[in-house]
Amino acid sequence: MLLPTTTVVLLLYASVAIGVTAAVLAWRRRPNPGTGPLVWLLVGQSWWSTCILFTLSADAVGEQLLWTKLGWIGVMIVPVAWVLFALEYTGRDERITRRSVVALSVVPALTVLLALTAPSHDLLYVRVIDRAGDGLVLIEQGGVWYVVAAVYTYLLGVVGIIPIVGVLSSRAAAFRGQSTALVVGIVTPWATNVLYNLGILPSAGIDPTPIAFAVSGVAYLSAIDRFRMFGANPAPTLRAREFLFDHIHEGAIVVDENGTIVDINETAAAVLGLDVDRALGTPAAELLPTDGAFRTDGGDDDFLIVGSDSTSRSYDVTVTGITDRHGRTLGHVFTLHEVTQYLRQQQRLTVLNRVLRHNIRTETNIIYGYADRIGGRNADTIKRHTTNIVDLSEKGRDAIELFEDAMDGDRTQSLRELLDACLDDVRERFPNVSFRTEYPEADPPVSDVFGVVVGNLLENAAAHNEGETPRVVVTAEVDDGRLRVRVADDGPGIDEYELGVLESGTETPLRHGSGIGLWLVKWGTEILDGSVSFERNEPTGTVVTVTAPVAGSDGIRPDVP
């Protein structure tokens, strides 16, 4: 259907009003990503419509031709601004440089130049072909360069749509709404222009593309206002992911299905002594030990060691497969996690364990033996303190074993066996203390670490209880995959100062506890991903409750530092 000229004119006025409104709103949202190019885009389309309106209202043919030519400025601003907007809005602004903008603007600038100098050549002609009875002049535009300009414009339209379409699949509803509105905003005038150029769309000699910009303006306004285009912007997403990959503390190498390195971050390049530019596109087998730590099937359990002797660094290499939505493998990501400190700490603990287990016991045995020979009160004092040193060294050894358990994996035993073993030990050491137990019907497996925790709680409850008939009650419950052990005594209670130090998580030379037992309880429950609480027992004593997941349920795992 041919639109009457008055309707066309009204629609052109509407497109200007809407375009300027959207441009003002976009201008006010600067410097949000995309605002600058969007303003240019809206100015370009409004100028295009304005020039058509001036062409229609001009009396002289020369004036009409002039406005038609000037309209090319708007025509060619739109595609360049659209591409720049799409890049900026989707966070690809690093591609927008002065050089790229100039390169993008070469064809538009030449087009405008050829349009303004139209009578002197036929590359892009703008000429009157007919005069209607109502004074309307039909202007024809064409030529070789017209085709070039049209193809270039459509090409930039497609180039700009590609990153915007990527946002269509965003999980954020606001981004999906924004990108849908933007695609509608750009596809409508482009489709109109294609149909007009193919002669499919009837028009009264007027290019209807700017009229379609009224639809674009409404779409852009919806994106700005309804979908908060400049209030919620996807631009940082891409950059954030790139930033994380480039600057993450772990090294990362991406290898495609053909075994070619397709991405590598700075950390990985530094660790492996590679040049990023050289590594990219190189077969992984040439640069990496793909038959060792970098095997795509997970490889052996050995660490990757870089360097030699004291300067060597150790890395735990993890491989993760990357698959498409059909589950087909696209490649692998190797991540390098440095474990040098962890391994050194493990070595130190091994040495300390030996010192505590063997050397101290040997030395104290000698002291104890000589004191036995001397005899008398002083010798008894020496022997008592020597025994204390042995006890302390055993506690230290417990602490080391606690951390070794955490590092080496999670050994388990049944709850009942573990509690019985702990109780047998304290019953033997504290025969005057009465122990009462309440076990659950279930007998789930629990981590060996739990033994250190419960053993120290029982020892603490019995050792400091100086009443006539000291009693300790041990209650164990299993509920919803979590084990709760409650140790209640009727002793003097734990000093608030000791609990305060424990709660602070650290000791200083001026503020410290009196032993290591409670620290073992705290560290053990932390390793078990559990919790410990201390309450006052009535009329005297303390109730300590330890809660932790039972072995095999979610959450219980060795806590490797």
Partner: protein, 313 residues
């Protein structure tokens, strides 16, 4: 207070209560309307339209869309300026700043639509009308927005430059008020149009400096060089006297040279007398808002006098 009145059990009490409630509602609506008109600068729209109608009357131009376009642009630029400066305006005009902040989204959309419609309507007046309509917006970008400083360290907002700030405002509005009705009417430039431009330029310049007296502390803190900041309030008042007297001399010259008719000269001189009287209050009155509005309202006085004197003649 309303609930106490409603506690009355007698019928007349209810009637009184309703009347009191109705009166309170009307008063409340009145206050709200006043707030909307003043804080959003909507009252300036009316005054700007009156200025354009004055030009119509003086130049004997046919009725055209120029007053509407100028009104829309005035609303867009002034309300837009208040949106941009809402936070920095807070110390000097806390109520206005709170109003603008509360209705920021609505005002932003309305001002954008106003400019879009103004541009579309101005196209009906031809390229010159479009250019003149674009001028206040373009000047505002140079004047108040932070676009110019982004070009380099040598550039700063023209709003911060002494004399230039008020001159650019005065120039933009004088061109719009005088040029737009002429562009719509396709009228040629005459000495009388030149006189009107001079009048509106100097007058707008003076009216721009009056609110700067209220904002002197804020402007100084923000590094905005206005007359009160640079010359002090007393000297600013004297400069404003001098500018108004210069304008009187200019109008008298136009009258005696035959460019301006007696009717219009009398109306404009009466308006200037009113302006001189107002200038006396600059720096002496704390009612800064009312003083600024009274300064703008001078154009109502001039237009009313033109209507009365024209009808009388």
């Amino acid at each position: 207070m309303a609930s106490k009145t409603n506690e009355s059990t007698v019928a007349t009490g209810h009637a009184v209560s309703r009347r009191t409630g109705l009166t309170a509602s009307i008063v409340d609506v009145g206050y709200r309307t006043k707030d909307v008109l003043t804080y959003s600068s909507a009252y300036l729209v009316f005054i700007a339209m009156i200025e354009v109608l004055t030009v119509h009357a003086v130049l004997s131009l046919p009725v055209n869309p120029a007053p509407v376009v100028v009104g829309l642009v005035t609303f867009s630029v002034y309300a837009g300026d208040r949106i941009a400066d809402a936070s920095s305006d807070e110390p000097a005009s806390p109520e206005r700043s709170a109003f603008v902040t509360r209705h920021r989204t609505l005002l932003s959309v309305l001002t954008a639509i106003a400019y879009g419609v103004a541009i579309a309507v101005s196209i009906t007046g031809g390229p010159l009308a479009l250019a003149i309509t674009l001028l206040p917006g373009a000047f505002w970008i140079l004047y108040a927005s932070d676009w110019l400083p982004t070009l380099g360290a040598y550039f700063k907002r023209l709003k911060e430059v002494l004399i230039v700030n008020s001159a650019i405002v005065a120039g933009a509005w004088a061109i719009a008020v005088v040029g737009l009705p002429m562009a719509f009417a396709d009228a040629s430039l005459t000495p009388l149009a030149g006189v009107l431009f001079g009048y509106f330029f100097l007058d707008t310049f003076v009216n721009t400096e009056i609110p700067n007296v209220r904002d002197v502390d804020v402007d100084e803190a923000l590094g905005v060089s206005t007359m009160p900041v640079v010359f002090g309030i007393r000297r600013t008042r004297r400069i404003l006297y001098a500018l108004d007297l210069l304008l009187v001399a200019f109008v008298c010259l136009a009258l005696f040279s035959g460019v301006l008719s007696v009717t219009f000269a009398v109306a404009i001189l009466a308006g200037l007398a009113y302006a001189l009287a107002l200038a006396w209050f600059v720096g002496r009155s704390d009612a800064h808002g009312r003083l600024a509005i009274a300064g703008e309202a001078k154009h109502l006085v001039v237009f009313a006098l033109i209507l009365v004197l024209s009808a009388g003649i």
